[in-house]
């Protein structure tokens, strides 16, 4: 309710003199203020410099540029005079950027990639992992004892084979017999003149180079190569795949070629993929999949209806009970009101998933408290019958949600001036009429936005469904994953994380964006409607 002020700066272009006149009183206390400001800024700058240093070492240039720009901006804002609004808003805006905008933008980006199980790294990583796992130890080959030697920065294996023959080789030169060598007490050759012998401690500085080192046993690569996983024992390996960087292909020993199939993996002509693949952007594929996946399309209509029903009924029931209790406990001359209110708020203090698990036990058909005690040993399938399960979910959500409504209704009721009620009573209105015509509309003005946000929350109330019924009971003969209490978000979870190749973050993000649009549309429409309420005021 902002009324345009007649004294706004635009309306009255007065010179900035009065603003300057307000400043002087600060001067006496400002020394301490400046010190605190400098201390805080230096802490922030110290953290930023540390972060910049780490990012520099990791060569992450984009985050480096962002951190640098933000640090400069923050220093500039707080060190230059003026810019008062910026001084107040900057911390909040930064947190908004980090915790809201970045997350939303990143999810949006993920929705356009194939990020998920089996596609979770870069192509280079995928290639090196494929090469790593392609090393197959030659069956029944012996263990060779090795000593790692170094000469002019190159590493060599000094190999003592099981027969006691000693040979030397490196990445470029296959093993060759040597005769001039020294041995340790166990008969292992451990030195050759002109070479430096490296002990375990010497190898630690360059471990990857040692474990990646492959020394061919002969000129023919098909005889295999020795590799050492520990620096003292070597085994004979043959690689089942070789990578050709020029053509970007893998070839296996049978000559089958695996090409980059454009889908974030190397595939051969018969469609077999090498694992792992890598993350690529896939355009709108995930959105197409979201609408064409059979497991979503089949139950989509019934699940959407139930999602709306669940969200609307959850809000309606919790609001009705919360409001009723708020009115009851709002009676000024009631005794022990505070204690009652405290007890009322308790369910609100429990984490939702914990309550879900507790209620799960209470609802157990044969052993639960509800059937055993309240219904005298009856066998009511609270969670195993489709309709009863829906009812149970709503009941538990009512228990969880009414304290919140109770709190906000209590607050809203107390803010309605008592005079209105008195005036109405004097005019001869009955209590019900007072409530219906005066209190309730005024209440709605302040509570309606919270009801809308409560709807949005329940629309995506994953915890309660997942913990209580897991979406079930499920009709397994129907051949779909959706159960009777599945709402959109739990169905999406099942489809995106539980099928095919495993967790598909790309698909999940696409679904999240689609659900966001549904909730946003409903919220915008509702907010428009509540504008009408505000006119009343």
């Amino acid at each position: 309710m902002s009324h345009p002020s007649p004294a706004s700066p635009l309306a009255a272009p007065v010179p900035p003199a009065p603003a300057g006149a307000l400043k002087p009183p600060r001067s006496s206390s400002s020394t301490r203020g400046i010190l605190i400001k400098i201390a805080l800024l230096s802490i922030i700058d110290a953290i930023a410099v540390f972060g910049l240093f780490m990012l520099f070492l990791q060569e992450s240039w984009i985050p480096f540029a962002i951190v640098l720009a933000v640090t400069v901006l923050v220093n500039w804002i707080y060190l230059t005079p003026g810019w008062l609004p910026a001084k107040y808003l900057t911390p909040g805006l930064l947190f908004l950027a980090v915790f809201q905008i970045f997350v939303v933008v990143y999810s949006g980006y993920i929705a356009f990639t194939n990020y998920g199980d089996g596609r979770n790294g870069t192509k280079d990583d995928a290639i090196s992992t494929i090469l790593l796992t392609a090393q197959e130890r030659v069956p029944d080959s012996p263990t060779y004892r090795v000593t790692v030697l170094e000469q002019f920065g190159e590493y060599f294996f000094l190999v003592t084979d099981p027969e006691g023959e000693v040979s030397l080789g490196s990445a470029d030169s296959p093993l060759e017999r040597v005769t001039d060598f020294g041995t340790d007490s166990t008969g292992r050759a451990d030195s050759v003149p002109g070479f430096t012998t490296l002990g375990f401690a010497d190898l630690l500085g360059n471990q990857r180079a040692i474990t990646d080192l492959a020394v061919q046993v002969s000129d023919d690569p098909n005889d295999g190569a020795l590799r050492t996983p520990d620096g003292s024992n070597a085994y004979l390996y043959l690689s089942s795949l070789s990578y050709d960087a020029a053509t970007d292909t893998f070839v296996d020993r049978q000559g089958t070629v695996y090409r980059d199939g454009g889908d974030g993996a190397f595939v051969n002509d018969s469609g077999r993929e090498l694992i792992p693949g890598w993350t690529i952007t896939v355009g709108f594929d995930n959105f197409v999949k979201a609408f064409t996946t059979e497991n979503i399309r089949g139950p989509l209509i019934s699940v959407t209806i139930w999602t709306f029903a669940f969200a609307i009924l959850s809000v309606a029931t919790t609001f009705a009970l919360g409001l009723f209790l708020a009115i009851v406990f709002n009676k000024p001359n009631m005794r022990g009101k505070k204690a009652y209110r405290l007890i009322m708020i308790l369910p609100y203090a429990f984490p939702g998933f914990l309550s879900g698990l507790v209620w799960l036990g209470l609802f157990n058909e044969d052993f639960g408290y509800i059937n055993q005690v309240l219904f005298g040993g009856a066998s009511i399938p609270w969670l195993n019958d489709p309709w009863l399960a829906k009812f149970s979910v709503l009941l538990v959500n009512l228990w969880l949600g009414f304290p919140y409504m109770f709190l906000i209704c209590t607050g809203a009721l107390q803010s309605i001036p008592e005079e209105l009620t008195e005036a109405a009573t004097v005019d001869g209105a009955q209590p019900w009429a007072v409530f219906r015509l005066i209190k309730f509309p005024l209440l709605l003005v302040s509570v309606a936005p919270l009801l809308i946000s409560s709807f949005a929350f329940n629309f995506n109330n994953f915890n309660i469904i997942y913990m209580l019924t897991g979406g079930g009971p499920r009709d397994v003969s129907a051949g779909v994953d959706a159960g009777a209490t599945d709402i959109l978000i739990t169905l999406v979870y099942k489809v995106a994380f539980g099928e095919g190749t495993g967790r598909d973050y790309g698909l999940a993000s696409a679904f999240a964006i689609l659900i966001f649009f549904i909730v946003a549309t409903v919220s915008i429409i509702s907010f428009r409607q509540t504008k009408a309420l505000e006119e009343l005021n």
Partner: protein, 375 residues
């Protein structure tokens, strides 16, 4: 001189044991080991997310059935045990291998067995039918107990009974590993098991409302002579003073009722720069009898290293569970298992509760699993 350190993700129970061996490793090898304590259940997914960024750990503790998912994501490196492989229980080595490569250093092996309350049933039953008959003759409230879930049953606990009908999840190849392309659930044995499940459900022998906790409470209260469970429930049973015996699981379908064997161990990250140190720490420090025994003492799970296992067998319970596990198969570690568990469980619920024709439900399940594996 080497400045880096090994980062190891462990769960709280394992961390205490590893502290000592880490200190010894640091002293002898000059490499610091940083132990990061994490919730066991979160390790797999956090590792898959973090390893590709290059900031993940060098080593994680984990379960062998994670392996498929870890390999699929390219985050674990093969581990060459060399001659050391022969020093471990065979089932542990089989479990830690995936497509012919070994990936992990196993430290424990566990499986379920049939617990019998000797005061209620004096003799070990030969078949599952005998067991039910003995259970009913005992006059106890339940002839037999197994913990299930109202929404997901428990394919893990029911698997030995299913296996006795000759229906493993995937075909088992000659070298003892699974062929993830050949689903074996749908064979004749599987359908016979489905029919049997429905009968057990109708007779009240299986009840999906009896959760694991309820089953333990009822067994501890002496309300049943038989309880199909693992070593994790032993402490409660011992505390209650139940006079128990650990028996092999009797066959229901004629073949051996082999339980799933779960193996726990350590894996090395494929992004680790400390490959030598990590290998050394696992093979020559974690893979020693002293450490394997210490890990067994803190977790109660039978050690994977044979010498440590033999020593632990002085405890009769470990020996008895180990004997049952000798007939077991490792739980499949292929990534497709995530898909299998969910359909498998909800179908078992439907069959036990008589919600349709058992064979038709079973076939629908096999079809659904197959279509999801095919993608």
């Amino acid at each position: 001189m080497f400045e880096g350190s090994l980062t190891v993700w462990v769960d709280a129970d394992r961390a205490g044991v590893l502290e000592d061996i880490a200190a010894q490793f640091e002293e002898e090898r000059g490499v610091t080991v940083e132990l990061v304590t994490k919730d066991f259940g979160a390790i797999r997914d956090d590792f898959i997310t973090q390893a590709p960024t290059g900031n993940g750990p060098d080593i994680i503790v984990g379960a062998h059935d994670w392996l498929g998912k870890l390999v699929q994501n390219g985050v674990v490196a093969p581990l060459e045990l060399g001659d050391k492989a022969g020093e471990f229980q065979e089932v542990a080595i089989t479990a830690m291998s995936y497509e012919g490569q070994n990936y992990g250093l196993p430290y424990s092996v566990e499986n379920i067995a049939m617990l019998r309350n000797v005061d209620l049933a004096a003799d070990e039953p030969a078949t599952f039918d005998d067991l039910i008959a003995a259970g009913e003759a005992s006059g106890a409230e339940y002839p037999f107990l197994v913990g299930l879930d109202p929404a997901a049953a428990d394919p893990y606990h029911l698997y030995p009974l299913q296996a006795s009908f000759g229906a493993p999840v995937f075909e088992i190849t000659a070298d003892g590993t699974y062929d993830p392309t050949a689903l074996a659930l749908g064979n004749e044995g599987g359908e016979a098991f489905a029919i049997q499940l429905a009968e057990w459900g109708a007779a009240g022998i299986l009840n999906t409302n009896i959760s694991g906790d309820i089953a333990r409470e009822e067994f501890v209260a002496g309300k049943s002579p038989f309880f199909l469970t693992g070593p994790w429930n032993l402490p409660a049973i011992q505390e209650a003073g139940i006079n128990y015996s650990i028996d092999p699981i009797p066959s229901a379908g004629g073949e051996t009722a082999s339980p799933f064997v779960g193996v726990q161990g350590f894996f090395i990250s494929s992004r680790s720069e400390n490959t030598l140190a990590a290998n050394e720490f696992l093979v020559n420090y974690i893979g020693t009898e002293a450490v394997q025994t210490a890990l067994y003492e803190v977790g109660g799970r039978a050690p994977a290293l044979l010498t440590a296992f033999e020593a632990a067998k002085s405890n009769a319970d470990v020996a008895a569970f180990g004997e049952v596990g000798a007939n077991g198969n490792p739980m499949p570690n292929v990534p497709a298992m995530d898909v299998v568990w969910s359909d498998w469980g909800s179908t078992e619920v439907a069959i036990i509760n008589g919600q349709g024709d058992p064979v038709e439900l079973w076939r629908a399940m096999v079809e659904s699993i197959q279509s999801k594996i095919d993608g």
